[in-house]
């Protein structure tokens, strides 16, 4: 079969339109929703996807400019945020577009480690997942081939190596900062990315434009918008953009469809099955606004997690021009495994990184109250000289970190999300270790001046999966314990956060969920990953 078109106009032209009741209504078209849509449509189900964001054509709508794209790709609606460590919400962690957050993600595509699925048994913290790494591994492989993921031929750590596409080249920042990691005895590899390094399906190989996080104009970055969405459309799925779901309707304990707003009017999509794929804030918001649906366990909205991610910024005597090539370069997973000697459970990874100018400056001044005025101008004047070591660490679940509905309503009359978050003691110790190792890396690499920030990334938890219906929202197949024809499938279902960027695992979980749904209908072919 020839590759489906990439241009939005062409996709819309060939897209089927479904009327009346459908086999599956999927809310959200990101890492989970797009995979489900393609798989279920190819399995013969009629599929409608409701997406709050708009179509983004890489040629027509993406502009190689940071300010133009800030907000265009982001879920930056009004949300309340509090707790001891209030989260910043918007570009930093949630997207809004056909393709969801994968339109602006960095494309880091790492697998969770086997130990991430059993933090409780291994380290006595968090909870165990109700499935093991081995059950997900074949789906990881299939997604890595579908995107495709580029990466090294072999790896010291859990990985999909050898990857279908060769690794991205090292950039200047990678040589400089990896030298620091090497001096500390840390093993370094190029990070696997969902970025094609050769042409595939009519998409260009990576052109090293560097603007991954403002939308990839070469289509090399394997966001859902150029991978699973075109294939879902080709298989007969309908993607309804600018369609904001407000309620999942249910009768006698079963979901019957989704009420949504489009073109200023309220509509209803009846469905045999409903899949909620809106990420860890909008998923609980939608469930809570649907009469507290699927929440007999009182776990919807609870255990919100992020990945802790202080960044260390080092100034070098010569320009690094980190903005060329994708923002994430080489990485080390050596600090990932739990080590009792460190005084905290679980671990983290370090990678080289680049922030474009606005993001660079805003991230620095947010965390450094004394950085403004002439001192700030001096830092900005040497923007091209700064090299970044970013970290990504595991934050443990805490049921008091949660998403609830605020009293205030948004423009559509839906209560806005209220997000409460505080780090725990283990998290704080881990964050200081992340910061310390990132700083030592820069020192070893020869940085002449070092700053750090208090960043974090990603949103996970709030509809955890588990075997016990009294303590979890969905089972290991992502199906609601309470509502038999309702699935929740996105980062919300993660019982613990691990310490890798979540998209690849969300995609693998969605693929597994789709296969289980089709198998249960007698429509599957028994494949567990291709």
């Amino acid at each position: 079969m020839s590759a489906p078109p990439l241009r939005v106009e062409e996709l819309k032209r060939l897209m089927r339109r479904h009327e009346g009741r459908v086999d599956a209504c999927i809310v959200g078209s990101g890492a989970a929703g797009a995979v489900l849509a393609k798989e279920l449509a190819e399995g013969g189900l009629s599929v409608v996807v409701l997406e709050a964001g708009d179509w983004i054509d890489s040629r027509e709508d993406m502009v190689n400019d940071e300010l133009t794209m800030l907000g265009r790709l982001d879920w930056d609606d009004d949300r309340l945020s509090d707790g001891a460590d209030p989260l910043k919400l918007g570009r930093v962690n949630t997207g809004r577009a056909v393709g969801g957050t994968t339109v602006h993600f960095t494309a880091m595509s790492l697998r969770l480690d086997a130990s991430d699925f059993r933090a409780q048994s291994a380290d006595g913290v968090g909870v165990d997942w109700p499935l093991a790494y081995e059950e997900l591994a074949p789906y990881y492989s299939e997604v890595e081939r579908a995107l495709p993921v580029s990466g090294p031929r072999r790896s010291k750590w859990v990985s999909g190596a050898p990857y279908p596409h060769g690794a991205l080249p090292w950039s200047a920042k990678d040589y400089v900062l990896a030298a620091g990691m090497d001096k500390l005895g840390l093993h370094v590899e190029m990070t696997p990315h969902a970025i094609a390094t050769g042409p595939v399906d009519g998409r260009s190989a990576c052109m090293y434009y560097g603007f991954c996080m403002d939308g990839c104009k070469s289509d090399a970055k394997g966001g859902m918008n150029v991978t699973y969405i075109p294939k879902a459309v080709a298989a007969g799925a309908e993607i309804r953009a600018r369609s904001f779901a407000t309620r999942i309707e249910s009768e006698s304990g079963r979901a019957v469809g989704v009420t949504y707003l489009a073109d200023g009017e309220e509509r209803f999509q009846p469905a045999e099955r409903v899949f909620v794929c809106c990420y860890a804030i909008e998923t609980p918001r939608l469930l809570l606004n649907s009469g507290n649906l699927a929440n007999s366990c009182d776990q919807v909205g609870r255990n919100l997690m992020v990945h802790s991610g202080p960044i260390a910024y080092g100034r070098f005597n010569r320009p690094l021009d980190s903005f060329v090539t994708p923002p994430v370069g080489v990485f080390t997973r050596d600090p990932y495994a739990s080590d009792p000697a460190r005084g905290f459970a679980r671990g983290f990874l370090l990678n080289t990184y680049c922030q474009f100018p606005i993001n660079f400056a805003q991230s620095l001044v947010d965390s450094n109250p004394d950085l403004w005025g002439q001192e700030l101008m001096d830092v900005l004047d040497e923007y091209a000289h700064w090299g970044l070591v970013a970290s990504l660490g595991e934050v443990l679940p805490n049921s008091e970190n949660r998403v609830t509905l605020a009293d205030e309503l948004d423009g559509n009359g839906v209560p806005i999300a209220h997000v409460t978050f505080s780090y725990g003691e283990n998290d704080k110790a881990l964050i200081e270790a992340e910061r310390a190792l990132a700083v030592r890396t820069l020192e070893a690499a020869g940085a002449t001046e070092i700053l750090t920030n208090d960043g974090n990334h990603h949103l996970l938890g709030t509809a955890r999966m588990g075997d016990d219906p009294a303590a979890s929202v969905v089972g290991p197949d992502c199906r609601s314990h309470d509502v038999p024809n309702l699935w929740i499938c996105d980062g919300s279902v993660w019982p613990t956060a691990g310490a890798v960027n979540p998209s690849l695992t969300i995609e693998a979980l969605a693929l597994r969920t789709a296969r289980l749904v089709l198998d249960a209908e007698g429509r599957g072919d028994g494949r567990i990953g291709r």
């Binding site: 009004d78 509090d82 209030p86 919400l89 918007g90 090497d182 805003q362």
Partner: protein, 180 residues
């Protein structure tokens, strides 16, 4: 099918518009009455920004634009109202006419969260959000890119100067260049 010459036209339009206007407006729409304070506080937060970049006009025009960030603490007013009340509090204290070192001490207290009672509002949120907004305007301007060594849009041709030889030459003397 587009001709190659048309690719990248949006990028060029953005650059040319910013160079041409520098965000400047005849009058400020929101904060016209508080323009002196707005200009004074931006001049201390980001000193030495050239006159070709009108950050007060940028902040005025984008006060209600989340620019990718949607969170606020419960009870915090909407951002345009936060800016208005913050600038009014500065005006009440004659901020625009203070000597620069006095202005800097007040900004320092605001940034460190030590001026909440003094100004009777969320002074840290006010100055932090104002700084972030002004930075978005400053760092989106092509004059700034030239100054800081950011090469702007790379589409469609990539960064033309980046040939392997040019990269190698730029990286001579790097602490890590001899590694590998």
């Amino acid at each position: 099918m587009k001709r190659l010459g048309e690719l990248g036209s949006k990028e060029w339009a953005v650059i040319e518009e910013r160079r041409r206007s520098g965000y400047r407006r005849e009058t400020l729409e929101r904060f016209g009455a508080l323009e002196a304070e707005l200009c004074a506080v931006i001049a201390r937060l980001l000193p030495g920004v050239p006159r070709s970049i009108d950050l007060a006009a940028f902040v005025d025009a984008h006060a209600d634009d989340p620019i990718g960030r949607g969170d606020r603490s419960p009870g915090l007013p909407a951002i345009p109202e936060l800016f208005r009340s913050g600038l009014q509090a500065l005006a009440d204290r004659g901020f625009a006419r203070m000597p620069a070192d006095e202005q800097d001490r007040l900004i320092g207290r605001m940034r460190r969260g030590e001026a909440e009672e003094e100004l009777g509002l969320e002074a840290k949120e006010f100055v932090d959000r104002l700084l972030a907004k002004a930075l978005a305007g400053y760092l989106a301007h092509p004059d700034t890119w030239e100054r800081i060594g950011f090469n702007g849009p790379s589409y469609p041709g990539g960064y033309a100067w980046i040939t392997p030889t040019a990269v190698a030459r730029r990286h001579e003397g790097f602490p890590g260049a001899s590694w590998l």
